[in-house]
């Protein structure tokens, strides 16, 4: 039985020196489950938790090839926000943000949500018009959004380049105060612990090597730890979606690309918000340890190497200095790359597959982390009831066949240009 985390428990352990119990059991696979989820990342664990919590499906297993949280849930830049303007995205990501807001209490695990606010910058009048439209869409959906003019941005973020020589003059910005950051590892651990308490088996070091089939129906998986039967099977493996889907004979509209992230050496508190540059895909925030966290664009060609290309490092550094000249002498401490499942329109696939009782959640592009709670919530509903949750209807695997590409940023249907 999991011990409840509280100030009282903390004091008791501090005084008695009693060791803390394991946060989740080391489960061995059983012969059969109601639902088997492939992938012990944020989405897989959240799906397992909501299956047990919301739908009382308790015989659930999460199979993870390595250890939980070792993939993209620990490789992202930890941002959460709901400033999307396509109908469907707006409501989905707002649902996610509302779940983030209650998550620490829900899971009895401090995920350290910090709603420090995100400012998206405009560097020209037409860009500010676009942001005004987005802000209006958000407000019509009951989401907080404030349009800022140049003076208001300067009062909020005085350290940006407001000089006459600035390469990209700042015209204004859009502020969502409820946006912010979350401690990403805690999301994996919190969902794992809460799901385990509801009876979910979390099975690590268990790689899926094939699917068990009965004609067009999937009835379980072959793994490195033996055969596991399942009434329903769900794939939630981010950058390796194509490989796992291929084991079931499916080809999907996903290509795996590298996305890099960066942390500078730590400095005193300086950047109090999340700031998105408007002239390139670049954004930053400051971590609790003091490092500035930078995010940028994908490298531009498909790869599984988890080692980013140097020109992207250079672009990100140039963006950082163009935006905040005073950080030009900061050194980058480390950078890393995650394998990101890119789709032609930049939107995910979450729902059914052509095979009966096989469900897919993948293709999240840049949006996977912030979507974690809502994706788990809606995916669990879809698996439990066999029908797609209304919030994810537009994320169907078949949408291109119907001409319903779902392109939030209007970039066209190219995986490597999203």
């Amino acid at each position: 039985m999991t011990e409840r985390y509280s100030a009282l428990a903390l004091a008791r352990h501090a005084l008695t020196g009693a060791p803390w119990p394991r946060a989740w059991r080391r489960a061995d696979p059983r012969a059969h489950y109601d639902v088997v989820i492939i992938g012990g990342g944020g989405h897989g664990l959240a799906t397992a938790y909501y299956l047990a919590k919301n739908h009382h499906v308790n015989r659930v297993a999460v199979l993870e090839r390595a250890v939980i949280g070792s993939g993209n849930v620990g490789r992202n830049t930890t941002l959460v926000r709901s400033n999307y303007q396509l109908d469907g995205n707006t409501q989905f990501f707002e649902h996610s943000l509302r779940l983030w807001e209650g998550l620490s209490h829900e899971l009895n695990f401090n995920v350290m949500l910090s709603q420090r606010g995100q400012v998206v910058l405009a560097h020209g009048p037409s860009q500010l018009d676009v942001l005004a439209r987005k802000g209006n869409v958000m407000r019509l959906n009951g989401i907080d959004a404030e349009l800022l003019d140049r003076g208001e941005v300067e009062r909020l973020l005085p350290y940006l380049d407001f000089s006459a020589q600035s390469r990209f003059p700042i015209y204004g910005g859009l502020l969502q105060r409820r946006a912010g950051t979350v401690r990403h590892d805690a999301v994996a651990w919190g969902y794992a612990r809460a799901a385990d308490e509801l009876g979910v088996d979390i099975i690590e070091n268990c790689e899926v090597t094939g699917f068990l089939r009965d004609h067009d129906r999937v009835i379980g998986v072959e793994t490195t730890r033996g055969r596991i039967g399942a009434d329903r099977t769900a794939i939630s493996v981010a950058g390796h979606t194509s490989q796992v889907a291929a084991l079931a004979g499916l080809r999907v509209p996903v290509e795996s690309h590298l996305l890099q992230a960066f942390v500078t050496e730590p400095i005193k508190p300086f950047v109090d918000h999340v700031i998105s540059f408007g002239a390139e895909l670049f954004y930053l925030s400051q971590s609790d340890k003091g490092g500035l966290v930078f995010g940028g664009h994908i490298d531009g060609f498909n790869s599984y190497t988890q080692r980013g290309q140097f020109p992207q490092v250079q672009t990100v550094a140039e963006c950082a200095v163009a935006l905040i000249p005073s950080i030009s002498r900061l050194r980058l401490l480390r950078h890393w790359a995650g394998i990101q499942d890119m789709t032609p329109d930049g939107s995910p696939f979450i729902g059914r597959t052509p095979l009966r009782d096989l469900y897919l959640n993948g293709g999240w592009c840049y949006q996977g982390f912030k979507a974690t709670p809502a994706a788990g919530w809606c995916f669990a509903h879809t698996i439990a009831h066999g029908e797609v949750h209304p919030l994810i209807e537009h994320f169907s695997l078949e949408r291109f066949l119907d001409g319903n590409g779902y392109d939030e940023y209007g970039l066209g249907l190219w995986t490597y240009r999203q």
């Binding site: 080809r251 290509e255 498909n302 599984y304 190497t305 032609p344 291109f400 995986t415």
Partner: protein, 89 residues
């Protein structure tokens, strides 16, 4: 840095090139009315972890379209040939 051996210009940084995607797909016949075949051609990817044949255009060089062999698990680069010579599928 990924370096691409252009048949005209020699080995150059990949930043001189524009990526053009999977070159192993076969375009359906022009009169093909099968929507699924066109869908698969445009939107579906093999996305292999391993050998991959792909288009690159040398936009800052000879401007030719090339077909490059590259391993997506290691980024090891093989030969690049001119796409117009029919090296595509």
């Amino acid at each position: 840095m990924l370096r691409i051996p252009c048949p005209h210009c020699g080995e150059r940084d990949y930043t001189e090139f524009r990526y053009g995607g999977d070159a192993s797909k076969t375009r359906p016949a022009h009169a093909d009315r099968d929507l699924r075949a066109w869908h698969d051609h445009v939107f579906v990817f093999s996305n292999p972890r391993g050998p991959h044949r792909e288009y690159w255009q040398h936009v800052l060089g000879c401007r030719q379209w090339l077909i490059l062999e590259r391993d997506t698990a290691t980024n090891a680069v093989g030969t690049a040939r001119l796409a117009r010579d029919g090296a595509g599928a």
